[in-house]
């Protein structure tokens, strides 16, 4: 039996939830005030996901960096792999919101896309 302590992010109550697992299966969820917390806790212990945002250098742009994100949720365990995959990447201006910066990052099936428009610098 394994016990996991979580803080629910569903509302400012921030209930402290205890999930009991047995062989990777949820046996009980305690401490939540409402069902939203139950749902959150089950998802969080079985398949936690996050969106990762960062920024990468851009050449010949009006500004030197462009912000990027994973276009969807990726497994929480892949956060640092995604950051590693972004290292060394640099883009050529112009870049527009939604442009794919890196397809299928780390085999997650999720693309990294630009979240800002950076036009070419007028010289």
């Amino acid at each position: 039996m394994e016990k996991r302590e979580l803080t629910c992010i569903g509302c400012p109550m921030g209930c402290q939830i205890t999930v009991t697992l047995e062989n990777g299966e949820v046996k009980s969820v305690e401490g939540n005030t409402c069902m939203k917390g139950d749902k959150y806790a089950r998802a969080e212990v079985t398949n936690p996901v996050r969106v990762v945002t960062s920024s990468v250098p851009v050449r010949d742009g009006e500004i030197d960096q462009v912000s990027v994100k994973t276009a969807g949720d990726i497994p929480k365990g892949c956060i640092f792999d995604v950051m590693e995959a972004l290292r060394g990447i640099s883009l050529q201006a112009p870049v527009h919101i939604g442009d794919v910066v890196l397809a299928d990052v780390c085999g997650t099936g999720v693309d990294i896309t630009a979240t800002k428009n950076v036009e070419r610098k007028i010289v």
């Binding site: 979580l6 803080t7 400012p12 109550m13 996050r50 945002t53 030197d64 960096q65 800002k116």
Partner: protein, 427 residues
């Protein structure tokens, strides 16, 4: 002299939404003045996601949220002057009620602009470290969290490798994660108060995810290092925020980030002579979001510090519509019937501070903050001592702005209105 009907000071989310709604309400002559090289304000450096859930029903990053409004402003052909710093706003001396906006930019130099109405949307800035009484030297390596955010996200420069953060506001929490992802070691976040002002989601996803400890009721008591920060010592504080001897913990680090709150940027507003609220540090406004100076409106962080940009956009849209009504001559000018809202019993302030039912649209939105964390509390509104609203809240905390929408009907049912009171009640 150059003329415009409405001058908008600041091209962040507030200024953009105000200009867009004023234009949609039928005002053709609007000018947005922005001191930065681009529109979007502080959102340009907030590259994390979580913006716009209320407005667009999807989670956007700061720059994406800003772009939606920039695009709209462009479609509506609203002129914006960038790289333009507003130096002063004053009443015209001819008694016309016009305002003279003085601004400076590289192309035009120093310009005086005559405007019938002005919308203040200058945003806020971070409490500087000078305002914090941290003893010791002032070595390099101490930044406000917002400055660090700009350095990392816009300039691509990492301010340090080993970090201690004082203050658990959202910007500090976001930066704890950002610097961790970029390879820094964030050792601890110390918070003076017994609770965090940050969103739960940020505490979980920015600290817990990376095993960064949050120490509540702690403050920095010593900073070591002559040229560059070498170590920071924190200690637990008692109920009166005094450090408790013997509780010190020393962290070797090269960087200290300060995330100690935001202050509305109101030098222009004070110089114009508008009444400033000692609580919000923004101008006092009425139900039309008009300051004590007729025809001068305010919205966004310059009015009071917001946590959600969605509410900034809503509020700013309202200011824009009211400014349009003002220049179209449709707004009632008299201040007869103005009633000051009383905020008491745990309610720190309300915006607006003044309501005049005669001038009200169908509803008025009251925004406020509570002074401490309350559970199972009621938010109540009284007109002439009679309770017209009694709403249960599971939780109310200083970090989350509260909103109440009141209907004009409720006001019309009360004869000879003298008082409006907003308070927290246990039952």
């Amino acid at each position: 002299m150059n003329r415009t009907k409405i001058a908008v000071i600041g091209g962040g989310p507030a200024g953009l939404a105000a200009a867009i709604e004023a234009k949609k309400a039928g005002t053709d002559s609007i000018l947005v003045l922005e001191r930065d090289r681009c529109l979007g304000g502080i959102l340009n450096q907030c590259i994390h996601n979580g913006f716009g859930l209320h407005t667009f029903k999807e989670e956007l990053t700061g720059p994406e949220y800003a772009q939606r409004f920039i695009d709209q402003a462009q479609e509506l052909e609203i002129p914006c002057r960038l790289g333009t710093m507003v130096m002063s706003i004053a009443m015209a001396e001819d008694g016309s009620g016009d305002k003279i906006v003085t601004y400076l930019n590289r192309e035009e130099g120093l310009v005086q602009l005559r405007a019938e109405a002005v919308i203040l949307a200058m945003g806020c800035r971070e409490r500087p470290r000078g305002a914090l009484s941290i003893p010791g030297f002032r070595p390099a390596g101490i930044y406000t969290a917002g400055t660090a955010q700009k350095l990392v996200n816009i300039n691509g420069f990492m301010p340090g490798r080993s970090v201690v953060i004082l203050g658990s506001g959202d910007i500090g929490l976001i930066m704890a994660r950002r610097m961790t992802l970029e390879g820094a070691k964030v050792q601890v976040v110390a918070e003076l108060m017994p609770y965090s002002g940050g969103l739960k989601r940020n505490i979980v996803q920015c600290l817990d995810d990376f095993g960064i400890p949050l120490k509540l009721s702690h403050t920095v008591v010593d900073i070591e290092g002559k040229e560059r920060v070498k170590a920071v010592t924190i200690a637990r504080v008692d109920e009166r925020s005094k450090p408790i001897p013997g509780t010190e913990e020393r962290y070797e680090c090269d960087t200290l980030l300060l995330s100690c709150g935001l202050l509305p940027e109101n030098e222009l507003t004070s110089a114009l002579g508008a009444v400033i609220s000692p609580v919000t540090r923004g101008p006092e406004v009425n139900e039309s979001l008009e300051t004590s100076v007729p025809g001068v409106f305010a919205c966004g962080n310059v009015l009071h510090v917001h946590d959600l940009v969605d509410f900034v956009s809503q509020e700013a849209g309202q200011a824009g519509r009211n400014a349009a009504r003002y220049v179209q001559g449709a707004a009632a000018k008299s201040s007869e019937g103005d009633i000051r809202v009383t905020a008491e019993n745990g309610v720190r302030y309300t915006v607006p501070e003044i309501i005049n039912p005669a001038r009200m649209e169908d509803t008025v939105t009251l925004r406020f903050r509570v002074g401490a964390v309350y559970q199972n509390i009621y938010e109540s509104v009284y007109l002439n001592g009679e309770r017209i609203l009694h709403r249960k809240k599971k939780i109310a905390a200083p970090g989350e702005m509260e909103t109440i929408v009141l209907k004009k009907e409720s006001f019309e049912q009360v004869k000879d209105l003298k008082s409006i009171t907003v308070r927290l009640e246990e039952e």
